[in-house]
């Protein structure tokens, strides 16, 4: 115990002196370290994955949290001070990190085989952990007539008041196009053309003065609760948590939602690869995954996990058949190619 403490302190120093790689070698011979997104989500993971895994497998592990960004992972791996083993990443981090060789190739034979997982969650560098949505969220107590979709989101006559969207072009442009009448399945086809980008910005122009831009996932529920905005784009799990834990009465519109996956990856050169695979195998089993969905409203990656859930739980999940029927998967390939250009374009537009 004391030894681990000293290791921790030394690690703290190593992080502080990121320039002196000499100190970073302290990071050898440590316990398995799993990194996730913190908050209510990581609390649920602790309960259903981390603690039971420690007990059943008898393997010591620590969990930490982070805020994302492939640059962070690049610094970890290239800086030679990789203090993490298993990290939960978003789909863009998975794509870029995989291309840059930051992750170990995922050996599916050690985690139950590819056939055990839903197709979108199988990737050469990682395995899907959860599936979640950007939905239209609103406060039922304040809006008597529920909005029916993104078109209403842009209709300030029908529903007056401010709206919140995620700052940046990603998700914002897709939403604008759907509001303008583009069918969910055609969104990226349209967005791939210059006219499509113009069209999205034109649509955004119509409510430019009424948009509040949020940057972190915790902000939208807070903006709704304080009455700052009447509607917002928001992660579905955040709405669910606010309703359960803070007794809010928030509603969601699943129609035209944007879904994406988070995946588990093993960082390149991890000294704890065996333990990492044991953990991923544990976290990939249907009986463990279904417990996660009972605690927090995310869909999971094992094909048989949803079948174990009570209908009352399933109806609020992104993976429920009714909810996913008109949802679009965020196209990472498109954003990899266009994020820098459209980020510049977005900020040009915002500053006008």
């Amino acid at each position: 115990m004391l030894k681990r403490k000293i290791g921790k302190i030394a690690l703290g120093f190593a992080a502080a002196f990121s320039a002196s790689a000499a100190l970073a070698t302290v990071a050898q011979a440590r316990d398995l370290t799993v990194v996730s997104w913190g908050g209510a989500y990581q609390d649920a993971q602790k309960k259903v994955y981390f603690e039971p895994f420690k007990k059943t497998a008898g393997i010591a592990m620590n969990d930490e949290s982070w805020d994302g960004g492939v640059g962070v992972l690049r610094a970890k791996v290239q800086g030679g001070a990789a203090t993490w083993d298993v990290v939960q990443v978003e789909s863009d981090e998975l794509a870029v990190g995989c291309e840059e060789g930051l992750f170990e190739k995922m050996d599916y034979s050690r985690i139950g085989g590819e056939a055990a997982y839903i197709p979108p969650s199988v990737n050469a560098c990682g395995v899907g952990a959860i599936l979640y949505d950007f939905v239209l969220g609103y406060d039922k107590d304040k809006l008597k007539d529920a909005p029916s979709g993104w078109a209403d989101f842009f209709d300030t006559k029908k529903i007056p008041g401010k709206r919140a969207l995620r700052q940046g072009p990603k998700t914002t442009l897709e939403i604008a196009l759907m509001a303008d009448g583009v069918a969910p399945k055609d969104v990226y086809k349209v967005l791939a053309t210059d006219e499509g980008v113009e069209r999205a910005f034109k649509k955004l122009d119509t409510i430019k003065g009424d948009i509040v831009w949020w940057k972190a996932g915790a902000q939208p529920p807070q903006l709704l609760a304080s009455g700052e905005v009447v509607m917002t784009s928001v992660y579905n799990g955040r709405i669910d948590t606010a309703n359960k834990n803070e007794k809010k009465n928030f509603g969601m519109v699943w129609d035209g939602a944007l879904f994406t996956l988070d995946s588990w990856v093993i960082l390149k050169g991890s000294p704890n690869k065996d333990a990492a695979y044991k953990f991923l195998d544990f976290a990939g089993k249907a009986e463990n995954q279904s417990k996660l969905s009972e605690n927090i409203a995310y869909g999971t990656s094992n094909k048989d996990a949803a079948g174990r859930l009570a209908p009352a739980v399933l109806k609020d999940l992104p993976t429920a058949p009714d909810n996913i029927k008109n949802a679009v998967e965020i196209n990472e390939g498109f954003w990899l190619e266009n994020i820098d250009r459209l980020t510049e374009r977005f900020n040009k537009w915002a500053a006008k």
């Binding site: 994020i339 510049e344 915002a350």
Partner: protein
């Protein structure tokens, strides 16, 4: 004659004396230096080293050269007119094959995509479809069939421009400039030309916040300097309290105060002054208010220390010589506080330049400062070249300002600007 001899002898003893003196001086200097060596080494590793590394990344351009070495070599003697010859196409085909096997194709694709949007697809689709190595002499035909972009001159000039090992590409982009196909520096297309505006915005907000801090901080610092110790200590605690509170907490407190159903708007509404809530947040106003509050102590403390040193006798003397209070203040008191004003303003201004979390939380999309973009390119899109270039431009601008400040305050310190 004897005079000359004497002076000669004198001179020689003087020289040796001088030399001895110098030697003694040098030993002392070396000893003094030895004392600060640990600190210097520490700074070198933790400060100078990382900054140099950051600056280097702004010009480092070796990705394409690593992935497509033969192509770069083949393009070395291409004049950039028309299309390169068969040799270059064959080199590219063989490079792509090798990179695909090594899994490095994306590294080059990412870099080339910065310069020419869509290059990622060109390269990855070519890699996917280039099954066998083309027969000698057919590489050009094969590649052009897979992707017509290989028949475009701009595709090849992009590769040639990115051949490294160093580049001005990122630094130019940070200043809204780019090179056209002929290598001339021209303005970036209007959709991508955002950084000058953002730098201007950053400097403008910092300047505004500095001015606000000075206006609000000056009277407070004066009070601190003239009140009896008991009360000035209490006031000092109020000034220092923000220092002991987390920046994030203070920023969030402003959100609670300023939002449309926040304390300020509700109070004004209750008093009947307004019907509709005022927009006090998620705009420039909110950013300036929150940043001023956060940075105020950095202005007050240097002002206070310069005012503490001013003897009250000066003002009394001015009054006894017939100066009106305003004249006495402007001609006697104010000049003596100039060092404090200068130090406080510079400190607040430079801190404000690098502000990130406050504008991110209380600003709108049009109020994000340069640090937001540096963070975005560092962590989110991992475009470290551009992030470093933006950082380098900011660093240079800040250094210039510090130099100008140094020139301005030179000779003002001691006399407080008064003519002796």
């Amino acid at each position: 004659m004897t005079d000359a001899l004497l002076t000669g002898a004198n001179a020689s003893t003087e020289v040796s004396l001088k030399r001895r003196l110098r030697r003694a001086e040098r030993t002392r200097q070396v000893k003094a230096l030895a004392l600060v060596v640990p600190l210097l080494v520490f700074l070198l590793f933790t400060f100078a080293g990382p900054i140099a590394g950051m600056l280097w990344r702004a010009v480092d351009d070796r990705e394409v050269r690593q992935v497509l070495p033969q192509t770069i070599a083949a393009l070395a003697d291409w004049d950039g007119k028309g299309l390169p010859d068969e040799k270059a196409y064959a080199a590219l085909a063989s490079d792509i094959q090798a990179a695909r096997a090594g899994g490095t194709i994306a590294i080059a694709a990412k870099r080339l995509n910065y310069a020419l949007n869509g290059f990622r697809t060109i390269l990855t689709s070519t890699a996917r479809n280039l099954k066998p190595v083309p027969e000698p002499g057919t590489a050009k035909e094969t590649l052009s069939k897979i992707n017509p972009a290989w028949r475009e001159r701009s595709t090849w000039t992009t590769i040639k421009d990115a051949s490294g090992p160093v580049t001005g590409f990122y630094l130019l982009a940070a200043l809204d400039l780019t090179r056209n196909a002929d290598g001339a520096i021209v303005a970036a297309p209007p959709d991508q030309a955002i950084y000058r505006d953002i730098f201007a915005r950053t400097f403008l907000i910092s300047l505004g916040v500095t001015a606000l801090c000075l206006i609000l901080g000056f009277p407070v610092a004066y009070l601190l300097a003239v009140l009896p110790p008991g009360r000035s200590n209490l006031l000092m605690i109020f000034v220092l309290l923000p220092f002991w509170t987390s920046l994030l907490v203070r920023t969030c407190a402003w959100i609670v105060l300023l939002q449309s159903k926040g304390v300020v708007n509700d109070s004004l509404h209750w008093l009947g002054i307004i019907d509709e809530p005022l927009r006090l947040i998620y705009n420039r106003f909110g950013v300036c208010v929150a940043m001023t509050h956060v940075l105020l102590p950095f202005m007050i403390l240097p002002l206070y220390s310069s005012m503490k040193a001013i003897s009250p006798a000066y003002m009394r003397a001015a009054a006894s010589l017939g100066a009106a209070p305003l004249t006495a203040f402007l001609r006697i008191y104010l000049p003596q506080t100039l060092p404090g004003i200068g130090a406080g303003s510079l400190l607040v201004f430079i801190l404000a330049l690098g502000y990130y979390i406050t504008p991110a939380l209380v600003g709108g999309a049009a109020d994000q400062m340069i640090s937001y973009f540096i963070a975005l390119y560092t962590t989110e899109t991992a475009n470290w070249g551009l992030a470093s270039a933006l950082g380098a431009v900011l660093l240079l601008a800040t250094l210039l300002l510090a130099l100008v400040y140094g020139k301005l305050v030179q000779g003002q310190q001691v006399t407080g600007g008064m003519k002796n």
